[in-house]
Amino acid sequence: MADTPAAPIVPVQFNEDAIAEDLTHHPPVARKALDLFRREVDRAGGLSFSRLKRCDEEGRDGTRLAGCLKTYVPWPTGRFGLVLLPVAHPTRPLALRAFAYGIRHLRRASRASTKSPINDTTPKVLDHIDPRSPMVVLTARERAAEAGAAALRPVASARLRHTCSSHGNSSAPGAVTAQIGGFSFAALRPCALAFPLRWRAFRGPPQESQPVGTSIPFRVSCEPITPSSGARTGRGERTYVRSVRSSAHVARTQLDD
C-alpha cells in the first residue's frame, strides 16, 4: 500500500508579547502545554496542515477571526487553542504568526453530560440585556467549573465583542470591571482576540442564594481597549430563572458608547 503523502508544513512564528500576555491569565499547565507545542514545532520546522483548522468568521460568542487559523494544544484533543494569522512577507515564505492563546470554546454537543436537560431544575442565572448593540457576551459560570476552576466560582466569562475591531486594535489588552447588583466583578483576564475575559465575584451574596424570579439591575463598565476611546458602560437586568437547560446560559449586555 502506498504511503499517504505527508501534509505540508508551514512555518510558525510567535508574537511573543501577545502570547506572554495571554499566558499570564492561565494556569501553569497552559504554559507547559505551549512549551511542548513549541518544541514540536521547532523540531518539525513548522506546523502540519493536518493540525490546522479555519476559524469561523464570527464565533458563537462574537469573536471575529476571519482569515485566521487555529490549532489545538496539545493536539488533537487539548483544552487550549492557539490562533494563528497567515502572513506574507516580501522575501520569506508564507508563514503563520501565532498571536493568541487560551482555553478553547468547546462545543456543547461534544461535552459529556449525565444530566437530563428537561430534569435539570437548578436555578440558573440569565442576564436580560438590551440587545441593540451587544458588546459583551457573558457566559455562565459552568465554563469555569468545567475547566476545573472551582476556586473561581461564582464566575462568568465575558468577551468583548465588537470593541476590538471597532478600535482597530484587535488583540490589545483592556481591563474590564463590572458591578452586577450587589456583586462586584473584575476582569481576571484582559481582552485578547480569541479568548474570553473572565470575571470573578469579589463581594456580595452568592448568586445561588437569590430566589428564583429575582431580578436585579446591573451596570457594566468597561475600560477601553485603547485608552483614549473612552470608558464604556452598559446596563441590563439579571434575572434568576429556573432553567430547563443544562448548558451554560449566554447573556449579552449592551455597552453604550
Binding site: 508574537n15 476559524c55 478553547r104 485608552p227
Partner: protein, 65 residues
C-alpha cells in the same frame, strides 16, 4: 480619538501605545499588541481573501469560533 502610538529605539525598542500622559510630563506606555502593529513590526501583511482561500480554503472548521 485614537491613542497615541510611539516607536521606541534604544535600550527599549518596539511599538507602544500611550496609556497615560501625566501633567508632570511622565508618560505611561504599554506594548502595542494589535495585529496591525504585529504585522508592521515584522514587515508582514495579511493574506488577501483570495490568497487565504487558495492556501487554506480546504481546511475544516470546528464550530468553536
Amino acid at each position: 480619538m485614537e491613542p497615541a502610538h510611539v516607536t521606541l529605539t534604544g535600550d527599549l525598542s518596539g511599538d507602544y501605545v500611550v496609556e497615560d500622559r501625566r501633567p508632570d510630563g511622565r508618560v505611561l506606555l504599554r506594548p502595542d499588541l494589535s495585529v496591525k502593529a504585529m504585522l508592521a513590526r515584522h514587515g508582514e501583511r495579511k493574506l488577501t481573501p483570495e490568497e487565504f482561500e487558495q492556501h487554506f480554503g480546504q481546511l475544516p472548521t470546528d464550530g468553536e469560533g
